[in-house]
Each structure stands twice: as C-alpha cells, then as structure tokens.
Symmetry: C2
Subunit: 125 residues, 2 copies
DNA sequence: TTGCAATTACGAAAGGCTTCGTATATCTTT
DNA sequence: AAAGATATACGAAGCCTTTCGTAATTGCAA
C-alpha cells in the first residue's frame, strides 16, 4: 500500500477526476475556473506533477493527454483522515467523530444511517 | 471570532499548552524532545511566531518568558475540522464522520457515548 | 567579579506548494 | 501554405513553514 499524500490543490483535482472520470487538462481547468480563476498552465503543471508522483496516470496517445486518477478515493480519504486524526486529535478517531458530529447539522436520515453503522460495528466484536 | 489557522508544528505546541497549562520554551522543548529531536531555538522561534500571530500570549516579566495558549481548544479543533471537511469531503461532515467511524476500532463504551450524542441530536430537532 | 550557562532576538537557509511566463510543437481554419 | 489557436514542457518566482546558527543579554556560581 503506497502512501498517498496529496496536497490541497491536488485533492481538488482528484475529486473532479473521481467524479467525472478521465479528463483532459482543459476539462479540469474549465471546472476549476467555474469556482475561481486559475491559469491553464497552473492546472497543467499540477497534473503533470501528480502524474510524476503516481497520483494520476495519463494517456499520451493523442495530442491532448487524458488523465485519470490512480489514487483510490476511499484509500486516499482514509489516509487523510489518519493524518488529520494524528495531527489534531492525537490519534483518537472517536474524538474526531464526536466533535465533528456534535458540530454538524444532520438530518434524521443521516443519523439513522449512522446508527446502522454503529449497529454493524457492535456486531463485529 | 478570529480565524485561527495554526500549522502542524503549531498545533503540536498548542496541544501541550492545552494540557499542561502555561509553560516556558524550555518546558515545551523538553516535551517535544521526548518525542523527537528538536533544536531549542526552533521551538523558541515557533513560539515567538505564535505569539505574534496571537495564538499564544506571553508573560515577559521574568527573564524566562511564560507562554499560554490564547487559541481555545474547542474552537481551534472546530476550525480544523471545518477546513478539513471542506478540503477532503466537500463540506459534508457526515461523510467524514461515517468514514472515520467505519475505519476506527472503537470500544463498546465509546460506541455508547456516540449513541448518547446521537440521541441528544435527535431530540434537538 | 569573572566566567559559564541559559535565554531571547534575529536573520536566513532549505524545502515544499502554487502560480505563471515563455518556448516549442501540433492541430485547424482559411 | 500561412496564421491563429491549442497543447505540452520547463523553469523559476513568491510564499509559507520549519529549522537552525549566531549574537546579544541576563542570571548564576565559583
């Protein structure tokens, strides 16, 4: 299991690729520009670096390269959570869960989902 | 409400001050050195910067300055969670909660605590 | 009091992230 | 074929974080 440690800008791009699937730099840049102003070569450079790091893989057959995410969404987020818990909650996932939950506004449906998950965890022991 | 945005190294120091209360640079540096090698002036500089940023306040009456945390633990962690959720979970606290919980190994007591919290949230609506 | 130890202040280097300018190559359109 | 648009490659600047070296100051001990 490789250790993914994407930066903030990289994660934003990963999210887009996870959702949309393989895309060109132009595709990604257009989406980013819908949120805020980003230069094309900025996005390009970022994705080239991500490719070097192994976060993305690209198909260079055509002039316009097509990139896809290598880093898996679940794995990546788990790594992020793990780092975050260590940094901010001294390793206690439950502390994070409690505080994040306490601070969020959650619908009854979401709370039910959460209760199911807890029930599942309880049966595992 | 000021926006605290401590860096990783700063958060490590904040944790110590939150737990131990006011302390000198020497105190903090000794504790940090129990975990890993850190130069004294490194810790000093960090705490000076934190003081400038308003994260810490210091008493300079004596030669050895005494620092205390200004940033409140709960507020700071809430801010960190908020940023993290936006960055990694596109704003959905519940997604974070579910994934963090699913990935943690939690004791029956902790799960009970969590259920109480959920019950409390359910009554609030 | 003289020298050693501890403290603060300050500057700056090293590394990482993000951004962009410029050069070059490859299409597309006329 | 020429001109313009679009793509990639590359280097470097700017900023932030972390780290540490050096100098100056203060306190303590012999």
């Amino acid at each position: 299991m490789t250790k993914f440690k994407p930066t903030d800008a990289e994660i934003e791009i990963l999210h887009i690729l996870w959702e949309k699937g393989p895309a060109s730099v132009r595709d990604i840049n257009d989406i980013l520009n819908g949120r805020r102003e980003v230069g094309y070569t900025t996005t390009l450079k970022l994705m080239q670096i991500m490719n070097e790091k192994g976060l993305l893989k690209r198909d260079t057959a055509a002039r316009t390269h097509i990139y896809k995410a290598v880093a898996k969404e679940l794995d990546t987020k788990n790594n992020l959570i793990s780092d975050f818990v260590n940094m901010a909650f001294q390793g206690s996932s439950m502390d994070l869960v409690m505080q994040a939950l306490g601070n969020s506004t959650s619908s009854p449906e979401e709370l039910n989902e959460l209760k199911s998950l807890i029930a599942k965890l309880e049966n595992k022991e």
